[in-house]
């Protein structure tokens, strides 16, 4: 710093305060030294990332027939702030969305499709997730659901017919 002041004193006109000029020239020197000494400062404009396998909740939205809700708008609400969405976005082309729960509890996920289809579910992140179930057979559901429904309706109407016949006999 003394050398710098001496150089400035020899080069500068008499009217300029020597100390002020020395301080002005010292700023870039000090800044350069700081940059070299602290590398983190150099990375101030870089976006860092962190990978945490298994830390996110992944949800796939699909219809009973197996058609996925691709590119469908979704919203995620945190249990800590149910008033405003924690995350919004669109499902990917395979119908998946994901979020990282910041707090444990019941996270609400709503997926909306333009056709009026969609889902609104609560996902409890406090309890550990069960191991992924084997993919269901859409073919079985395709047959079982209508079959069971038709049987229930048949039983209901059949019961009514029997009841009325029994009443009529009396």
């Amino acid at each position: 710093m003394r050398v710098l002041a001496l150089v400035v004193a020899l080069a500068a006109p008499r009217s300029v305060p020597v100390v002020a000029l020395a301080a002005l020239l010292a700023v870039p020197v000090v800044a350069l030294a700081a940059l070299l000494a602290v590398p983190v400062v150099v990375q101030a404009h870089e976006v860092l990332h962190e990978v945490r396998p298994g830390g996110a909740v992944a949800l796939k939205a699909f219809e009973p027939g197996g058609e996925v809700l691709a590119d469908a708008p979704y919203q995620v609400w945190s249990p800590a702030d149910p008033g405003s969405p924690w995350q919004t976005g669109r499902t990917d082309r395979a119908g998946w969305l994901s979020f990282v729960p910041a707090v444990p509890g019941s996270w609400r996920v709503k997926v909306v499709e333009a056709s009026g289809h969609g889902l609104d579910v609560l996902i409890d992140t406090a309890t550990p997730a069960p191991p992924p179930a084997p993919a269901g057979d859409p073919g079985a559901a395709f047959v079982l659901r209508p079959l069971l429904g038709a049987l229930l309706i048949g039983a209901l109407f059949g019961g009514l017919v029997l009841l009325y016949r029994k009443k009529a006999r009396r």
Partner: protein, 214 residues
């Protein structure tokens, strides 16, 4: 087409329940009482058939899907209130046992799909029947599908006006996403199904058919 839970606020679901539940109970007592017992086997079969065809998902270009309703046939054979009770039963079973369609929105779904659509279809059928029963049946079912879809679109649009958090989709996108499949694929298939089923039932001349249920 029937709405799931969470898309409508209590401001809409509660009034719909208040209208649909008593109306359904009253219609069930009138139409499914002991005096209408003879029609019950046919009604049960057609209701089960409506349940089955509502579970069949029809893919539509654009990545979405649709399905038929199938109860306009009951309105044409009997009356719109009979169709309303049968569709309400189908919706309750779907929501409670199979998780298809919401429980809180049962009133809205029943009024839109079970009453408004079949009522419009029945009116069209009565108006056009002199021109030919087949044409009338086809058009009635097509109109019924459009009326039901338009009602669901209207309710969702109203919900967005009341509180967009329940249904954040843009009204224009939602209307296009629902009405286009309905006007084309679903409407035409519903018309075809109703026409075919009505023709077969007329030929079969089943006992209890075309007889007032009460």
């Amino acid at each position: 087409m029937h709405l799931p839970d969470g898309f409508l606020s209590p401001q809409l679901t509660l009034p719909a329940f208040a209208v649909a539940a008593p109306l359904c109970a009253w219609a069930a007592r009138r139409r499914f009482g002991p005096s209408g017992a003879e029609a019950l086997p046919v009604l049960g079969t057609l209701t089960a058939l409506a349940f089955v065809i509502q579970t069949i998902v029809i893919p539509v270009p654009g990545g979405t899907s649709t399905h038929l309703v199938g109860v306009t046939l009951l309105a044409l054979l009997y009356d719109p209130l009979t169709a309303f009770v049968c569709e309400a039963l189908v919706l309750v079973l779907q929501a409670v046992f199979f998780g298809a369609g919401g429980v809180t929105v049962l009133g809205v779904n029943a009024l839109a799909l079970g009453l408004l659509g079949p009522l419009c279809g029945w009116l069209v059928f009565k108006l056009i029947r002199p021109l030919g029963e087949r044409v009338a049946a086809f058009l009635a079912a097509w109109v019924a599908m459009q009326a039901s879809t338009a009602a669901v679109v209207g309710v969702l649009w109203l919900q967005r006006l009341l509180d967009p958090a329940y249904f954040p989709m843009e009204p224009a996108v939602m209307a296009a996403g629902m009405l286009l499949p309905s006007l084309t694929v679903a409407g035409l298939l519903e018309g075809g199904y109703t026409l075919l089923a009505l023709s077969l039932l007329r030929k079969a001349n089943l006992r209890g058919l075309d007889r007032p249920t009460a």
